[in-house]
């Protein structure tokens, strides 16, 4: 299925969870935050959060800033 990830289209396996996506992106264990369709997905719920065709996903982290 196709999703929008950080502003770009991407194909991921059907019925993926947020947890599966994090694993697919090799981001497991990284300090990040995820939003799906502008709603925060708490990291404790990644495994239960199913992703759907057309979801808009943002994965963010902390970088240098003032």
């Amino acid at each position: 299925m196709q999703i929008q990830l950080n502003g770009e289209s991407r194909n991921i396996p059907d019925h993926s969870s947020a947890q599966n996506l994090v694993e697919l992106l090799e981001l497991t264990g990284k300090r990040l935050a995820m939003e799906v369709n502008r709603e925060i997905v708490p990291r404790t719920t990644y495994a239960q959060h199913s992703l759907h065709e057309g979801d808009h996903i943002e994965i963010v982290h902390a970088i240098g800033g003032g």
Binding site: R31, L32, I59, A62
Partner: protein
């Protein structure tokens, strides 16, 4: 401070936590994370601002993370809303930051109005501040040096008001010390100068006015030797604070001799 100082600087309180360094630093614009770490350490700062941005997908999976060099266990991380031009984007950024930092509530709110000046959009800032305070955030708010607006933001429930000294990254120094004085006099929450400081004397002037602290990034990270400038800023903040507590002499138009006139033999 020396032991014979009557008035000790016991720090200042933001949202229930006491801090002893009155210098707050940003973590942007350094050439690499090692320089970030060294300058942050040299500054003695306890509160460090960070920005929230998209993770680079598929690039350098092993790349070091900012929070490895400024670990949240050692520093108070202050996520900012830099780059936000609407209240909605600022609120969204703060909610992501809270998730990122395990429920951390302290944020630096800035809603910008214009790319050239990076001046705050004050109506959008007020709107975002109201939403964030209702949502349980502790909001340190970047604002213009308008005393009325500073008071409005305090009334909204912001835990610190942070007027600019001059435009972000400009290094122009304190441009309106009388407005800052008025803001400080009116405030019952900490007032920190945020943005516009260029060098150590600017930071000292801010502290001599009675500010509770100064937040800066470019003045340190953009210096030719950022680590040395971080050290200079630390000293300037301490010197300015002590001068404020000590109470400066009044300005006089004419001279007042330091040596006694009695006992002259000529």
């Amino acid at each position: 401070m020396s032991e014979n100082t009557n008035l000790r600087d016991d720090g200042f309180v933001i949202a229930g936590s006491t801090f002893h360094s009155r210098l707050l630093v940003g973590s942007g614009k350094y050439k690499d994370l090692d320089e970030t770490r060294q300058a942050t350490e040299a500054s003695g700062a306890e509160i460090i601002t960070v920005a929230i941005r998209r993770t680079n997908i598929g690039q350098n999976p092993g790349e070091p993370n900012l929070l490895d060099v400024v670990p949240p266990g050692r520093y108070t991380i202050l996520p900012n809303t830099a780059g936000c031009y609407t209240a909605e984007d600022a609120v969204r950024t703060c909610r992501l930051a809270r998730e990122l930092l395990d429920g951390h509530k302290l944020v630096k709110l800035e809603v910008l109005g214009d790319e050239k000046t990076l001046y705050p959009d004050v109506t959008a800032t007020l709107e975002a501040a109201e939403t964030l305070v209702k949502d349980g955030f502790d909001v340190m708010v970047y604002t213009s040096d308008d005393p009325i607006l500073a008071k409005r933001l305090e009334d909204t429930g912001c835990c610190a008001v942070m007027p600019l000294a001059a435009p972000i990254g400009s290094g122009l120094g304190i441009q309106n010390k009388y407005n800052l004085l008025t803001i400080i006099e009116n405030a019952s929450v900490p007032v920190l100068v945020d943005a516009g400081v260029g060098t150590a004397s600017d930071a000292a002037i801010a502290m001599e006015l009675g500010c509770d602290g100064v937040l800066m990034n470019t003045a340190i990270a953009g210096a030719q030797n950022p680590v040395l400038m971080a050290s200079a800023m630390k000293k300037a903040i301490e010197a300015g604070r002590e001068a404020f507590l000590a109470g400066r002499i009044p300005r006089k138009r004419y001279a007042s001799a330091s040596s006694p006139l009695d006992g002259t033999f000529f």
